[in-house]
Amino acid sequence: MDDRIKKVKLTDRSVEFLRQVEEISGEAITACEQCGTCSGGCPFVEEMDITPSQIMRKVMLGQEEVLHTRTMWICASCFTCTVRCPRKLDVSKVAEALRQIRLREALDHIDVNDLTEDDVDRLPTIALVSAYRKLTG
């Protein structure tokens, strides 16, 4: 069988994961029509391992492995996807929900103690506040 084709088994846990992401994000994820506009407009898509539309698909199928991708951490909450989705889905909220699921397990993505001296001298307060807000729990 072709390696690219994967059999996905939907279990109770998959449905639960989908509901969890829907609840935290407040978005009707199953309404996504997989048009790819979000991925097309995302300024960070080249740094991601899977694209925003792939994230939507995986969440729809309840695949918790999305929690271990880089994608939601590379997202910078720029809202380009938000303003372009033809279904008016807020994909930035889905990314936030996925980040929060990890952060709420007390698993910070960055360490507040990792600043170099150059960082300390140059980084404006707004950079630190926003980084800690999005990438720590």
Binding site: G26, S77, P124, A127
Partner: protein, 299 residues
Amino acid sequence: MTKIPYYPGCTLKTTAKNLEDSAIASAKALDIDMVEIPDWVCCGVVASLTSDDLMRHIGPVRTMLRVEQMRKRGEIEDSRLLTLCSMCFNTLQRSNFRMRENAEDLESINNIMYLEEGKYEGTTEVVHLLQILDEMGFDKVAEKVAMPLKGLKVASYYGCMLTRPKDIGIDTPENPTIMERFTEAIGAQPVDWQAHSLCCGSYHTVSNKEIVVKLGYEIIKNARTHGAEVIITSCPLCAFNLDDRQKEIAEKFIDFEPMPVLYFTQLMAIALGLGEEVCGFDQNFTDPRPQLRQKGLLK
């Protein structure tokens, strides 16, 4: 003089003091008295996007409550809260809309803030300085211009937070014109370019600066290709990523040419004839003074 409550945000008191000083001076010249609200707290950029988080909305609600408290004490009449930083504007406004749509959430937050005088009722309107100027009429701004910035080609960088999402934005996200109309009002020449709303990389400047360096290079290149001589912005984080990070951009891209990045209020102050004393150009990484002097715009 119109007195309007003003919210600086943390960075405007430190690395973006030049944005605050040039804005206050320019506003005064336009008969707007920006009254800093007392005991304000950090808005906590970027807005919390989950449906179940209340804690991160406390800071913004507390800040917006301050305006209502000032009004109840008779210190001010205006119910608007003026912001300069695009990120603060976006974060506060998002919380405001959320509270207006969710009476239960607002009730919960008011209960947590029981040590405060009064409860937030949702009457504060968060606005950005560009909106105030637009409402006043950019022609009124043009009337007060003493030194039109003739021949200066300006690329208006909106970033993410001024226009997105649509219900918060001060203009349409795909084709905004408010900063271009501002640019014309101060006598400069706006440049038509594509990267006006391309994200600068935002908080990745802390732990993933390669992304910011790449995007910064693309944005500035796009501006230069379309003939821009300077870029203007309204966000201290965008200013840092596009300006201060030029050090890293120059290290990575050998064909990179520096470009001054200014706050729109700094150009406004020059145009209104207030001089470079109120502009704080020492805080700009790429010194805009040689460029401005060459154009005969600085005394």
